[in-house]
C-alpha cells in the first residue's frame, strides 16, 4: 500500500509544511492564510477521489462541506456534542445525502455534464432551502476553545489541526489509489462499459468513492466554520464548489500531489493577487485567474501532474 517512495515524499512534504508553519507563526495574517490554504487542499484532495480517480465531475463539494459543518456545529450548540466527535456525525450526514443522490444517479448512468449539473443544482437547492429555514442570519459558534472543540485559540494550532487532517486525507488517497478500489475507479474513469465487462460493479464502486469523498468533506466542513467562526446558508456556495473541482482538474486528474500543489499554488496566488492588486485594479485577480484556467486547459490538459511527470522524465534523462 504505502511504499517507501510515497512515505518519504509525504515526510518531506510534512517537513516543508511544518517548517513553513513555524516560520510563519509570528505573523497572524500569513498563518491564517496558511491554515486556509491547507484546508482548501483538504477539500481538493478529497474531491480527487470522486473527481480525479473516478472521473465524476462533482460540483457539490461545498454542499457536503456545509452540511457536515452545520451538523457538527448544531450538535455542539444544541446537544453539547463536542466537535471532536461531532465531525464524524457531520461526515456521516454528508455521506448520507451523497449516497441518496448517488443511488439513483449512478443507476441511470447520469454522467459527465449531467452529473456536474445535478450536483451543482444540489448546492443551489440546499442553499435555497437553508435560506428558507435559517433566514439570512449568521450563527456564531459558542465562545469555547480547546482541542475537543477543534477550536484552538491561535491560528498556528488551527494550522496544525488542519495539517493532521490533510495528512489523513493524503493517506486515504494513497491507500485507495494503490489498492483494488483504486484500480477499479481509474478503470471506471476511462470507460464504464469496458469496466463492467471485466467484472467491475461500476455503480457500487462509484458509490463507494462518493461516500468516502463526501464523508471527508463533511467532516472537514466544521474546520471551515471554525475559520469563519460562524455559519449561514451561504456556505452552500456554487463558486466554491466549482473552484474546488477546478483545482482538482488543474492538478491533473487522479494525481494527489498535483491536486494538492494546485490547491496551494492557486489559493495562495489568489490571495496574493487580491491583496496586492484588488485595491488597485478591481477584479484583476479574478481576471488573471480566468486567463490561467484557459491557458492550463488549452495547453496543458494533464494539469500540473503532467508538468511534474515531464520534469521527472527530463531529470531522468
Amino acid at each position: 500500500m504505502f511504499n517507501r517512495e510515497i512515505l518519504i515524499a509525504l515526510a518531506i512534504f510534512e517537513a516543508l509544511v511544518l517548517g513553513l508553519g513555524f516560520a510563519l507563526s509570528g505573523n497572524n495574517y500569513l498563518m491564517l492564510l496558511a491554515a486556509q490554504v491547507l484546508l482548501f487542499a483538504v477539500f481538493v484532495a478529497a474531491w480527487n477521489i470522486i473527481g480525479g480517480l473516478t472521473g465524476q465531475l462533482d460540483l457539490a463539494s461545498s454542499a457536503y462541506m456545509a452540511l457536515g459543518g452545520i451538523t457538527t456545529s448544531l450538535l455542539w450548540m444544541k446537544l453539547n456534542v463536542p466537535p471532536l466527535l461531532g465531525v464524524f456525525a457531520g461526515g456521516a450526514v454528508a455521506m448520507g445525502l451523497a449516497v441518496l443522490i448517488g443511488l439513483p444517479t449512478f443507476r441511470f448512468g447520469v454522467k459527465e455534464v449531467w452529473y456536474a449539473l445535478m450536483t451543482a443544482s444540489l448546492v443551489v437547492i440546499l442553499n435555497n432551502l437553508f435560506r428558507y429555514t435559517m433566514g439570512p442570519w449568521d450563527f456564531y459558534l459558542p465562545s469555547k476553545w480547546g482541542l475537543i472543540y477543534l477550536r484552538p485559540r491561535t491560528y498556528f494550532e488551527l494550522f496544525l489541526i488542519i495539517d493532521v487532517v490533510l495528512v489523513i486525507v493524503i493517506l486515504v488517497n494513497v491507500y485507495i489509489s494503490n489498492s483494488k478500489i483504486g484500480y477499479y475507479l481509474r478503470s471506471i474513469r476511462e470507460d464504464e462499459l469496458a469496466s463492467e465487462s471485466i467484472g467491475i460493479d461500476t455503480r457500487s464502486y462509484k458509490l463507494r468513492a462518493l461516500a468516502i469523498y463526501s464523508f471527508i468533506t463533511g467532516a472537514a466542513g466544521f474546520l471551515q466554520i471554525v475559520i469563519y467562526s460562524s455559519f449561514s446558508y451561504r456556505l452552500f456556495d456554487t463558486s466554491q464548489a466549482i473552484s474546488i473541482a477546478i483545482m482538482g482538474i488543474i492538478g491533473g486528474l487522479g494525481s494527489i500531489s498535483g491536486s494538492i500543489a494546485s490547491a496551494v499554488i492557486f489559493r495562495t496566488l489568489g490571495e496574493y493577487l487580491r491583496s496586492s492588486l484588488g485595491g488597485v485594479f478591481p477584479g484583476l485577480d479574478l481576471l488573471l485567474y480566468g486567463i490561467m484556467l484557459i491557458i492550463v486547459g488549452v495547453l496543458k490538459p494533464e494539469g500540473l501532474a503532467g508538468l511534474f511527470n515531464q520534469i521527472r522524465r527530463w531529470l531522468g534523462k
Binding site: L57, F108, M118, L122, N128, L284, I291, I294
Partner: protein, 291 residues
C-alpha cells in the same frame, strides 16, 4: 384568499411564466445548439449573454436606439466574435474530457465578468425608456408589454432557427453532426466548418437573448450566473435535437419559477432545480430527446 382569488393569482403566474419560459427558450437555444452539434460543455454561456447585453446597451445609449433595434446591429459583430472564440478557445478543447472543457469555459466566464467589471463598473446598466415598457389588462390579468414582445420575438427567432435547421444545407449538416458525428464525417460533411458556423450562430442567438433582456431589465457583470444554470436545466429537460422540446421545457421552467414565487420568491429557483433534479433522476435523457 377565496378559491377564485387563488385561481386568478395562479393564472397570472402561469401567464407570466409562459412569457418568461419563451424568453428562457431563446436564452438556452444558443447553448443547446452549441452543445448539441459540438458536444462542448460551455459554462460561460451566461457570461456571453452578459457581455452581449453590454454591447446592446452601449449601442442603445450612444445611438439612442431601442435595444430591440440596436440588437440587430450587434448580431453581425457577435457572429464574428463567435468565429474568434471558436477558433481560439473552443477548437483546442473539442473532444477533450468534459472537465477540461468546463475549466476552460469557466475561465472564459471569469475573464468576461472581470473585463466587464473593469470597463463598465459594477453599476447596473439599463436602457431607461424602452419602447415596450408599459402594460395592459386582460380581464383580471396584467400583461407586460416587454415580456410579451420578448416572448413573441423569441418564438419567431426559434421558428426561423428550426426552419433553418430543417431546410438549409448548413442546417441539415448541423443536424447530421448532432445525430452522429462519425457518419456525418463519412458523408463528407466538413465538420470543422460546421463547428465554426455553429458557434457563430450560437453567438447570434445569444445576442438576441441579450437584446431582449435589455428591453426588460439591466445588466451587471454578474448577470450571467443567473442565466447559465437555467439554460442548462432547459437543455437537460429537453434533451438534444428538438427545438419544440426546448421551447416546451423552457416554458415548464418559466411556469415553475413563476408559480414557485407564490410560495416564496426566495426559493423559486429551488423549485426549478428540484424539477431538474428529479427529471435527471428518473429520465436522464430528458423529456424530448431524439437520440
Amino acid at each position: 384568499m377565496t378559491p377564485l382569488d387563488l385561481l386568478v393569482a395562479a393564472g397570472q403566474q402561469v401567464i407570466d411564466g409562459v412569457f418568461l419560459g419563451l424568453f428562457y427558450a431563446i436564452v438556452a437555444s444558443g447553448l443547446a445548439l452549441i452543445f448539441g452539434v459540438m458536444d462542448i460543455i460551455n459554462f460561460a454561456h451566461g457570461d456571453l449573454i452578459m457581455i452581449s447585453a453590454y454591447f446592446t446597451w452601449l449601442l442603445s445609449m450612444t445611438l439612442n436606439l431601442d435595444p430591440l433595434f440596436s440588437m440587430l446591429l450587434t448580431l453581425p459583430i457577435l457572429f464574428l466574435i463567435g468565429l474568434g472564440i471558436q477558433k481560439g478557445l473552443i477548437n483546442p478543447v473539442l473532444g477533450k474530457e468534459p472537465l477540461i472543457q468546463i475549466a476552460v469555459t469557466v475561465g472564459l466566464g471569469f475573464v468576461l465578468q472581470n473585463i466587464a467589471l473593469g470597463y463598465f463598473k459594477a453599476e447596473p446598466k439599463g436602457y431607461p425608456a424602452p419602447l415596450f415598457s408599459g402594460g395592459f389588462s386582460l380581464g383580471p390579468f396584467v400583461i407586460y408589454e416587454s415580456k410579451l414582445v420578448s416572448a413573441v420575438v423569441s418564438l419567431v427567432v426559434l421558428i426561423l432557427l428550426s426552419r433553418f435547421l430543417a431546410k438549409t444545407k448548413l442546417g441539415l449538416a448541423m443536424r447530421a453532426v448532432t445525430d452522429d458525428r462519425a457518419s456525418a464525417m463519412l458523408m463528407g460533411i466538413n465538420v470543422g466548418r460546421v463547428y465554426l458556423l455553429t458557434f457563430a450562430i450560437g453567438m447570434v442567438l445569444i445576442g438576441v437573448a441579450a437584446g431582449l433582456w435589455m428591453e426588460m431589465g439591466q445588466v451587471t457583470p454578474y448577470l450571467g450566473t443567473s442565466f447559465s444554470l437555467v439554460s442548462w436545466v432547459a437543455v437537460a429537460l429537453a434533451g438534444l435535437g428538438s427545438i419544440q422540446g426546448l421551447i416546451i421545457s423552457a416554458i415548464i421552467i418559466g411556469v415553475a419559477q413563476s408559480l414557485g414565487s407564490l410560495i416564496s420568491p426566495s426559493i423559486q429557483m429551488a423549485v426549478v432545480y428540484l424539477i431538474f433534479f428529479f427529471i435527471l433522476w428518473f429520465k436522464p435523457r430528458g423529456l424530448f430527446a431524439r437520440r
